[in-house]
């Protein structure tokens, strides 16, 4: 007892110090996000006042570009790194709060369509990446990681799978680098292609949610097109994330069967451990709105809070994308990833166009 109470102040000191370490990076994320908002407003007003034909560049893109510029030129000092790593927390917070902007019936309808498309997308992506990996003679576990990362949810899925299939650190950093580099490219190519094809918000949102691997990049790619497309992209991506446990479990069983990973004893516990719990928060928030817990103005406030959380995420996406580090990872995994991603993007585009014809999105 005595030892516990003696340790408590040390523990709370550590917790406080850990929290304080986050402050500079979080402030930097907020400053970049705010600068993005400011630039959007300022340039629009300036262009209007001077009768310029200046394209409306959304704050999302500004936040990413400022982050990219800082991260790839002066770099991010160590002082800020812990706080910048919280971008994933802001992403999850933003998604839970975004639940307030969805009526549960819409979630069920769009989520149902997304889930149906997700199952097809995952099956085809896994097969395609495995085939490409074998053609390019990549290491078997690297193929598994790339297949999992590109079919479900990028970095989180790779981290979840790394432990489950007992993969090397080197393989997982290869796979993560490839997925991040391709995610960064998708940020610019997806909206441009969608504008050229004149896709509607729902179709584009579904495409971004199905085709872009990492949740932060999928959210940003959606928001770059329009607010409505951003919402749908998050929903489709969330449906994809929900499948993470099943795919990782299948791979864990496969590698355990070959004696190259630990056997999974309790499959239900494994699935629950891998399930992204923030999805439950998203659904609960949407249900609360359905039960009229919040007024219209309050739903607006929750939507604004969600936008602010995403703004910090987008600043983090820009800051942590380092092209120099990515280029060090080697060309072959990147080529396999790029080829796979282009094919998956075409495939998911076909799926969305097909769904649009069947269900009239």
């Amino acid at each position: 007892m005595a030892s516990t109470s003696a340790l408590s102040p040390v523990k709370s000191d550590n917790a406080l110090l850990n929290a304080l370490r986050l402050v500079p990076g979080v402030l930097l994320l907020a400053a970049i996000g705010y600068a993005g908002k400011f630039l959007e407003r300022f340039l629009n007003t300036y262009a209007k006042a001077h009768h310029w034909m200046f394209p409306n560049i959304e704050y999302v893109l500004w936040a990413i570009l400022i982050g990219l510029a800082i991260g790839n030129t002066v770099g991010v000092p160590k002082l800020f790194q812990a706080g910048i790593a919280t971008y994933e927390f802001w992403l999850k917070l933003g998604i839970v709060l975004l639940g307030a902007r969805f009526v549960l019936a819409d979630v069920l309808k769009l989520g149902g369509i997304s889930l149906a498309l997700v199952v097809i997308e995952i099956t085809l992506s896994l097969a395609l990446m495995t085939l490409l990996g074998r053609m390019f003679k990549l290491k078997p576990k690297l193929i598994s990681l790339l297949a999992i990362g590109s079919s479900i949810c990028g970095v989180s899925a790779i981290i979840a799978a790394k432990g489950a299939i007992d993969a090397d650190d080197e393989d997982s950093s290869f796979a993560i680098a490839a997925i991040l580099a391709l995610g960064a490219l998708a940020l610019f190519t997806f909206p441009a292609i969608a504008h050229a094809l004149r896709m509607n918000d729902v179709s584009y949102g579904l495409w971004a949610g199905l085709g872009v691997d990492n949740t932060a990049e999928a959210t940003a790619a959606g928001a770059l097109y329009s607010d409505a497309a951003g919402k749908v992209a998050v929903l489709a991506k969330t449906a994809r994330n929900a499948m993470i446990g099943f795919v990782v479990l299948a791979y864990a069983i496969y590698w355990a069967g070959r004696g190259q990973a630990e056997a999974v004893t309790d499959k239900a516990a494994f699935l629950w451990r891998k399930f992204p719990k923030f999805i439950l928060g998203f659904l609960l928030m949407s249900s609360l709105v359905g039960f009229h817990v919040f007024s219209k103005a309050q739903i607006g406030s929750l939507g604004n809070l969600s936008k602010w959380a995403f703004l910090l995420t987008f600043a983090g996406v820009g800051l942590r994308t380092n092209f120099r580090d990515m280029s060090k990872q080697g060309l072959r995994p990147f080529v396999v990833g790029a080829l796979g991603e282009v094919l998956i993007a075409c495939l998911t585009l076909g799926l969305v166009v097909g769904a649009n014809r069947i269900w009239g999105l």
Binding site: K11, N14, A15, N18, A85, E88, F89, K92, L93, I95, V96, L97, A100, S156, A157, I159, A160, K162, G163, A164, N241, I244, R273, K274, F275, P276, K277, F278, L280, G281, M285, L288, V293, F294, A297, Q298, S301, L302, N304, L305, K307, W308
Partner: protein, 44 residues
């Protein structure tokens, strides 16, 4: 870092909450603040 989809936010592994749990807690605290109009006059 755990092998879960989320990172632990503290070095004390046994007691640390996952990132998902933190996101849920903060989101619902904010939702409560909005529900009781504590954040009513924030200029978003």
């Amino acid at each position: 870092m755990t092998t879960d989809t989320s990172m632990e936010t503290s070095s004390s592994k046994g007691t640390a909450l996952s990132l998902d749990t933190w996101a849920l807690i903060v989101a619902f605290v904010l939702a409560l603040a909005v529900r009781f109009d504590i954040l009513k006059n924030v200029p978003w």
